[in-house]
Amino acid sequence: MPVNEEARVGFYICHCGHNIANMVDVTAVAEYAAKLPNVVLSRDYKYMCSDPGQEMIAKDVEVFKLNRIVVASCSPLLHENTFRTATSKAGINQFYFQMVNIRENASWVHEDKEMATLKAKDLVRAAISRVVFHKALEKKKVPVNPDVLIVGGGISGISAALTIANAGKKVYLVEKEPTIGGYMAKFDKTFPTLDCAACILTPKMSAVLKHPGITLLSYSEVSAVDGYVGNYHVKVTRKPRYIIEEKCVGCFACIDACIFKEAKFSDEFNEGLSKRKPVYIPFPQATPQVVLIDDKTCIHFKTGKCPQTCAKACDRNAFDFDQKPVVQELEVGTILLCTGFQPFDAARAPYYGYGRYSNVYTSLEVERLVNASGPTGGHVVLRDKSKPKSIGIIHCVGSRDEKTNKWCSRVCCMYSLKLAHLLKEHTDAEIYNFYIDMRTPGKGYEEFYDKLLNEGVHFIRGRVAEVSDWAINDHEKGKLVIRVEDTLIGMVRRIPVDMVVLAVGIEPGKDAQDIRRMFNISCSNEGFFLERHPKLAPVETFTDGIYIAGACQGPRDIPDSVAQAGAAAAQALALIDSGFVELEPNTAFITEELCCGCQVCINMCPYHAITFDDGKGKSHINEALCKGCGTCVAACGSGAITQNLFEDQQILSEIYGLLVE
């Protein structure tokens, strides 16, 4: 085993309660490590990350004159920083420390204690043989750009943008739709207070537009992200509206003048329940209040033979049919992702007949139907214009279901109660809620449920089997029949209704995977963005300087989204106000005497960190851009590139330690 005479290693193994000690014989590992070369001291301890654990290291350094520390415990992701700090506090350079993960890599993944212990010993031996060749390094401090990028202009993005801008920072808010507001803008009322969604949202939307600190980039998408924490370079593609945004005042004269006298294209904002023209504005309070042209339906773009009556009607010359996508480059220090969710596609639950029976609606469609500015002016009428006398609301469509999505979408019980209340108010129909369990935890939520119970709404406990138009008696004729096992009375029931509402669940957005890749963050199994720690770092990601808030991280309602947006804003502000970030020193550098100037490394670098110095005829690595991937080190034929913390001697010695007892 390689020896460095000067190295005096202190080794510590953690029980992590029972997490490690149950499957790895920690005392045996400690005894084994004590006998390895360079090891001066070896101990096991219940919780190394606790204060006494850390203080023990400091005391030992003093008493035993240690100059290298190895801790075998959990993942470096969780506690490397803790132990580096402890090492540093004990008076040793923090990079004289090496961590061994014997929890995720040994105790948690094995069932044979003897073999797990053997593996732990191997890993420990590798770390000890490596650490003796570690060198003292310093972390670099880089200033943080105080500007912030927020992606997604739903309620989460809007809240975070206002908080950060109110703290005096510059915010770029990027929204892919023509307007901000997100799904909340489509809702009629909000639970449990029943205040009007528009009344509380639109002031925030216009505050975003008016705020001098916020630059709103609507109808735009992030197309590239580069850089690192504190210094991100972002490219935003602004899609063509074919309207010059600054000139349009939202008078809508062009919409009236459109060659299509009747609106005939499906209106996305009203969930297809009404029609719009090719030149349109999503809804009256859209922000910014600027019209746009849908080039897939516009006669001009389809045939080139349109008299352009819309443009002629515009007295501000705001039309520009030649607009092309424009790429805008931004420099920001931190990024907040508030990219939201998508509702479950009800057609994926064909047994409920969505798309087959015209009187089966999704909850989002019903939000528009009960809305005063919706397609029917707030009158709840079916597609044949009749008023429903009985309505069934089916919970958990695309939630808590092995066949579709396993998770609880958290909001559906409450919004179903809200819709039940609103539908009762609008139609005085008999309302049936079909639920598996009522989940109403939240301030005022259970009380709202109680209120609904007293309003005469029916609650039937059981997952609905199917919706069909199969009538077995006159009473059912012409109705939709909901078949369900009522688990409280233990019987299969058939409930005939005029209208069925499917309470669709919350899913990761359809572009979540693209966003994840672009921003280099992780997703959990179901596709929602992964937080750094589910309890202690719920808005941070594994990429420094990138935060998440709202339903892109998991199903949540408006209060929780706003709270999380505040938390993410606070994290970004904390980083900005600290002024700088410390960068890992695991970067590569070039020994100029050895560099032959072949420039092979330059093309290999994925981060464009290497440039060529023509004067010297040598390559040069910008350490601020280097991510420490090691590609150039391996590619260099002259052996001129070295990477801190991954020097040849350190790696070879680690491999030797791993393989040779």
Binding site: P350, Y351, R356, S468, D469, W470, I472
Partner: protein
């Protein structure tokens, strides 16, 4: 493409008219089939519930013979056989333990199944491969003004088949339409006909058949077409008894989709097994 044909027990006995009409239609369409040599009963659904190991083995034997006989696809018309075949294939494909054990047994008779032969239902072949247009071209007497209720039963398209929409199947509707008839939209296309309960728990079995017949009639159907010998048997043979017992006339012709096709294609009635039906008076005039 070499098509093998596995009739199964029903198509040689109570569902003889399914076999006769199927072969006549395939011949008319120029599709040659070769019957599997020395085939055995698939065990139907009953055997699967009693001893899954044996059930998989006897079905796999048929698949092994098909592979030995050198076919690309084996056509399995009976809904119960079809499901049993698919289940066996799926288990042998995804569970290496089952595959090895079953093949070990098959080896005793010089057979093995390695997934080379694909399992095909005639509906899949006719609609998804040949296509409705090709079928229409063979029609000599379009079935104008005929309203057809397609009935699939519970096991043809669930849980393993992928050739049709599992919740709202349409391949038989496509065929009816290609023959010039009008399919009726109804929600009981894949509701259970009670299987063998018409003999074991007669009251319940008859009741289950009653709702299917009743709904098809109330939707205005002139005829029910099906692809399952047991469904056809239940719906046709008991309808007189059901009508008497429940005092509601639910009598309606129930035929195989291949018989309907044969009529439209101008194949003589006796070559379609129409004479073998129990209620010939109800057959279309």
């Amino acid at each position: 493409m070499k098509y093998l044909y596995y009739p199964g027990c029903s198509l040689k006995s109570s569902g003889k008219h399914y076999e006769i009409s199927l072969l006549a239609v395939l011949q008319k369409l120029g599709i040659e089939v070769e019957e599997l040599e020395n085939w055995n009963c698939c065990g139907a659904t009953n055997y699967m519930s009693i001893n899954e190991n044996y059930a998989l083995e006897i079905t796999a034997r048929n698949l092994g013979i098909a592979e030995k006989q050198g076919g690309d696809e084996v056509i399995v018309p009976c809904a119960a056989c079809f499901m049993g075949f698919l289940k066996t294939q799926k288990y042998m494909e995804s569970e290496s333990g089952i595959r090895d054990r079953v093949n070990q047994i098959l080896n005793h008779s010089g057979l093995s199944y390695n997934g080379k032969v694909q399992i095909r239902h005639p509906l899949d072949l006719l609609v998804n491969q040949l296509g409705a247009d090709a079928l229409t071209r063979t029609v000599e007497m379009p079935l104008k003004d005929l309203k057809v209720a397609s009935y699939y039963g519970c096991q043809l398209i669930r849980p393993y088949a992928t050739f049709d929409d599992q919740w709202n199947p349409h391949t038989m509707d496509d065929i009816a339409r290609a023959m010039g008839a009008t399919p009726v939209d109804w929600p009981l296309k894949s509701r259970c006909c009670s299987g063998s309960m018409t003999s074991t728990m007669t009251d319940i079995g008859l009741r289950m058949n009653y709702v299917i017949l009743k709904e098809a009639k109330s939707r205005g159907a002139d005829v029910i077409i099906t692809a399952c010998p047991l469904c056809q048997f239940n719906l046709e043979c008991f309808q007189g008894k059901i009508s008497r017992k429940l005092k509601d006339d639910v009598r309606i012709p129930v035929m195989y989709f291949t018989q309907l096709m044969g009529l439209a294609m101008g194949i003589p009635a006796k070559k379609l097994g129409l004479k073998q039906m129990l209620s010939p008076s109800l057959v279309l005039n």
